[in-house]
Structure formats: C-alpha cells, structure tokens
C-alpha cells in the first residue's frame, strides 16, 4: 500500500504544477465573489442566494476536475508512454491504478477545502457587514450544517472520479468524458426510475427501469444542498448511510477498473 501513497502523492504534485488546476480554483473564488455582488442586489434573500450559488459552484468545479482530470489519469500515461517506465517498477497494476485514484481524490479534497474556506469567508464577511442578516434567514450565514452537503459532494465526486477512471482504463478521453457525464446526469434522475413502472403498461419495461434504478449510481441521494440552504434537517444517519452507499459503489467500480487494467496490453 506504500506504493499507492507514493503514486498518489505524485499525481497530486502533477496537479499542483498544472496551471489549469490553479485557474479553476481562481475561477471558483471569483465566482463566489460574484455571488456576493448578486446578493447585494437581492433584498432579503442575500445569504440564501450566496449559499445556493456557492454550494453549486463548489459542486460544479469539483465535477469538472473529477471528470476532466479523471478521464486523463490513465490515458495520458499510456499516450505519453510514461507508463512504460513506471509499471516495470516493483508495483502491481492495481496499486498504480489506486494510486492514481487517490491522488486525484486528494487533489479534489484540497480544492474543495480551499473553495469551502473561501465560501465561509465570504459568508462571514457578509454577516460582519450586515449584522442583521441572520434574522432574515432561517439558518445562520455560516451554518455548519452546510458542511454535511459539502461532505456528500466530496463522496459524490469521489464516485464520479472512480467512474471516470473506470472508463479511462479502456476507452478514449472523449468517450470516457461522454460516458461519465452521461452516467452523472442519469444518476441524478435515478429516483424517477424506481417509480417508472407505475406509469408504463409494459411489465418488462417496468422491470428494466427498476433494474436500472439499482444498477445506476444514485447521484441524487448525495444532493442535500437545497435542504441545508433552507435550514431543513439532514439527519447524520442519512449522511452516514449515503456515504456508506457511495463508498461501496466506489469500491465496486474500482474493482472493475482494476480487473480491466490488470489484463490490458500497452502496445
């Protein structure tokens, strides 16, 4: 497992030296500053809008990093042939793959941490400028419950990264991006599939949609942004159960990716 850590640290080092990654973070910070300006123009709804936009931008920028770096994790190594010098070193292919995965997860977590810190700073500054702002909203401006939503965003992005990595073990970056994004969209409408049987006449189609409900990742389960913004309770048990679901799914996807990668020819 030591090798996994070494590969992961190297992936993180690459991300740190990659200027594209910096620009995404800078852009996220700029966007959150913009949300503050929008909040200034919207009477009474300031914190709610900033929370909505802030959490959404954290989620979307994280998603962009997960997909666009995730799909290149293996492909770039193969395309640039750097894998030829790495795999003959004393490591198993699975260790290489896991190292790549955890390296990107580390990058994501640090990026989200930076964005979250910036987000809370913006909200804290707002409260300082307008001390009465909390009274207009059901939750305080720097409500710690938002961290539950961010924790679930992290698990969701870990799953997206695992799926992107899975596709990148056997397909091109374009196809991997398309399939990962497609699965992410389908996963957000997953809960609709469960009840689809009630509105279709064909029992076969009903069974098929139900099977798809169980197989496809249920990304909508990770989305509690609206609840925390509107100060609705998100039980800790729900967060724990959803994290357990996400981690189990991640483990299965990584096992699949490792099985494919273990027998792949690097021509």
């Amino acid at each position: 497992m030591k090798v996994v850590g070494l590969v992961a640290v190297n992936v993180f080092k690459e991300s740190v030296r990659d200027k594209v990654l910096y620009s995404i973070v800078v852009f996220a910070v700029i966007l959150m500053s913009t949300t503050y300006l929008i909040g200034q123009l919207t009477a009474g709804q300031d914190t709610k809008i900033i929370k909505d936009l802030g959490l959404a931008s954290i989620s979307i920028f994280g998603l962009l990093i997960a997909i666009f770096i995730g799909i290149g994790l293996v492909w770039k190594e193969v395309e640039k042939r750097s894998i030829y010098t790495l795999l003959p070193k004393p490591m198993r292919r699975q260790e290489f793959l896991l190292g790549k995965y955890f390296g990107l997860v580390l990058t994501l977590v640090i990026n989200i941490a930076v964005m979250t810190a910036a987000f809370y700073v913006v909200l804290a500054l707002m409260r300082r400028v307008e001390p009465g702002i909390d009274a207009a909203s059901a939750a305080s401006a720097t409500d710690p419950a938002m961290l539950k939503a961010i924790a679930l965003v992290i698990v969701e992005l870990m799953l997206v990264t695992a799926i992107a990595l899975f596709f990148s073990t056997f397909s091109s970056p374009f196809l991997s991006a398309l399939l990962t994004a497609g699965l992410w969209v389908a996963g957000h409408f997953n809960s609709d599939l469960r009840n689809f049987g009630a509105v279709v006449a064909s029992p076969m189609l009903a069974q098929l949609t139900r099977a798809m409900y169980y197989v496809l990742p249920n990304f909508s389960a990770f989305d509690v942004k609206s609840q925390v913004v509107h100060a609705q309770a998100v039980p800790a048990s729900y967060v724990a159960l959803t994290c357990a679901y996400g981690l189990t799914y991640i483990a299965l996807v990584l096992v699949g990716a490792a099985a494919i990668f273990a027998r792949r020819d690097f021509k």
Binding site: N10, L87, P88, P90, R263, D265, K267
Partner: protein, 320 residues
C-alpha cells in the same frame, strides 16, 4: 541458471475492423540469455524487438508460451525489484526535474529518503547530467532524456537490465559513454539485454546476439562463432614481390586482387581455395617476404543482411 529464458513465446494481435485477422507480432520465440553476459537483440525495424521487451516487462501479455527472468515468471514483484528497463524513446513526467524523477523511482523500490537522493545523484553523475538535473524534464533534449532513461533503469542496481535502443538520440560522445557504461555493468556482473538495429554497437559490446526478422528468431548464438564460420577469404601483405610473380599468381587464380601499399609491397586478396599457406609458400619461394596474413570475415552487417533477407513468410495467420 539463465538470466532470461523464453519458451515458444508468442504474441498475436488482431488487425482489421471488417475482416479481423491475427497478426503474428512474435512467433514462438525460444531464447536463453546467460547471467552476466551482454546480449544483443538485433533486427530491422518491425522485427518484433520492442514487442519482445514489452512481453518481458509484462506491459503486454503473451498469446501463448512463457518467459522467465532470474528463474521466476515475468511480472513477479521480486523479479521487478531486480531488473531495470529503458523503453524505446522514453518519456517521463515532464513536470518533474531529473533529480525528482529518479528520487520518485527510487522511492518505489522502498529506499530510505537519504538513499534515494544518493542513488539519484550518483547515477545522474554517471550518465553525465550535471546542473541540468534541477531543470524540469520538459526542457531536456532527446539525448538528455535518453541519459535520464538509462539512469532510471539502473536506480536499483539491477541484476538484469533491458535497454531498448539505448544509443538512440545520442551524439557520438554520448554513444561512447553509454558503451563504456554497458561494459562497466557487465564487469559488475549485471546481465545486459539490449535491442538495437545499430550493428556496430552490438559488435563492440555483445558476447552473444539473436537476430529477429518478421517476428521470428532467425538465429542466436555467440557473435564470435557466427562470424568465424563466415570467413570468405584472406588478406596477405607481402614485400619484395615483383610484378611478374604477381601477374603469374593472378593468372593461376591464387590471387584475386592486389593493392600497392608501398615500394614492392602489396596487399593481396586471396580466395578460400587454394589454402593461403600454399600461395604464401609459392610467393616466398619466388623472393617475397611475409608481412601479415589476416582472414577476411563477413561483418555482422553482412551476416545480418543475409539472415534477414532469407527470412520469409507472412505475419498474417488465417483465422481458424
């Protein structure tokens, strides 16, 4: 125990979308490389040299057959700890410096941080990378990357090192330095398996070679044996030879050609038959003196061209 052995190692690829056909990249390669020797793996472009090396490094998997390194199957972690590999036209993480790259690779072998740095520094010195070691690899020329590639292949002081076209991209000084490095590795007891299509390198360095063509092993053996059997004539240098004696020898067919190398001194090209001793005795009897007698052998290039030209057959197999 052989350092490397393959038994009927075969690799097929499927080519063609509408009518897929198996393409034979390597066909039943059986080869033994002895411990401590410098082994040249020769062949023209597309002969299957790099594919064989990738099979030995388990970057690709064989269709059938097996390959062992140091008595264990390729891909075994213990084997990986004891071998080094330089791929053809190596590419490394260009955001790292040469020093960082070597330290990273050393860490994968489990060395302590101080040992990683010491090994990286020593090897970069050995391959001639000076102050540039602190530059990102994206600023390196092809030749410098090749040197870094050789350094990373040696980071674990391997017992067997695989070098795919190690002289590629190097200038004449660099080639000489790498040749000397390979000989130093041999002297330390390291087995060196290197692929090349530059025959002069093989001639200088190898004790044994294998020649591949169209995915098949054409021949393998000691370089000295291969070339010894290919004596095609003799070069006799004599002095005190008169024009009349030379003309008579030519007329008898004892001498094919003669080149003047000084006053009454000639370099004579003799055929294999009659034996050179007989011609020499006749010339000495007529007043000539022996300066030297040397067998004229095929060069490795001559031998290589003959062997590769004779390799026939298609690399496509009919589907079953």
């Amino acid at each position: 125990m052989d350092a490397i052995s393959t038994e009927a190692l075969t690799k097929h690829y499927t080519v063609g979308f509408w009518r897929p056909r198996p393409y034979v990249a390597i066909d039943a390669l059986t080869l033994q490389v002895h411990a401590g020797e410098v082994f040249g793996f020769l062949g023209p472009n597309g002969a299957g040299k790099t594919t064989t090396l990738k099979l030995l490094m388990q970057l690709i998997f064989p269709t059938s057959g097996r390959a062992d390194i140091l008595g264990k199957p390729v891909g075994d972690l213990d084997v990986k700890r004891r071998v080094g590999y330089l791929p053809e036209n190596p590419y490394f993480y260009d955001y790292l410096t040469a020093e960082e790259l070597l330290v990273y690779f050393a860490s994968l072998f489990g060395y302590a941080p101080a040992e990683r740095r010491a090994r990286a520094s020593r090897l970069l010195d050995e391959v001639g990378i000076g102050a540039e070691r602190r530059l990102q690899l994206r600023k390196f020329s092809k030749g410098m990357l090749q040197r870094v590639g050789i350094a990373q292949a040696l980071i674990n002081e391997p017992e067997v090192v695989f070098l795919d076209e190690p002289m590629s991209g190097l200038d004449p000084i660099g080639r000489r330095e790498i040749r000397e490095l390979i000989l130093r590795l041999r002297d330390r007891g390291c087995t060196v398996f290197f692929s090349s299509h530059v025959l002069s390198d093989a001639e200088t360095l190898c004790s044994r070679v294998a020649i591949m063509a169209k995915g098949r092993l054409v021949t393998a053996g000691a370089l000295a044996d291969m070339l010894a059997f290919q004596v095609r004539g003799w070069e006799l240098v004599v002095s005190g030879l008169t024009d009349a004696v030379l003309a008579a020898a030519k007329a008898r067919g004892d001498v094919i050609d003669a080149t003047t190398v000084g006053a009454a001194r000639y370099a004579l090209e003799l055929p294999l038959d009659p034996p050179p001793e007989k011609t020499l005795a006749a010339l000495i009897a007529q007043g000539a003196s022996l300066v030297s007698l040397t067998p004229v052998r095929d060069t490795l290039e001559d031998f290589f061209v003959k062997q590769v030209s004779s390799a026939g057959g298609s690399r496509f197999r009919e589907s079953a």
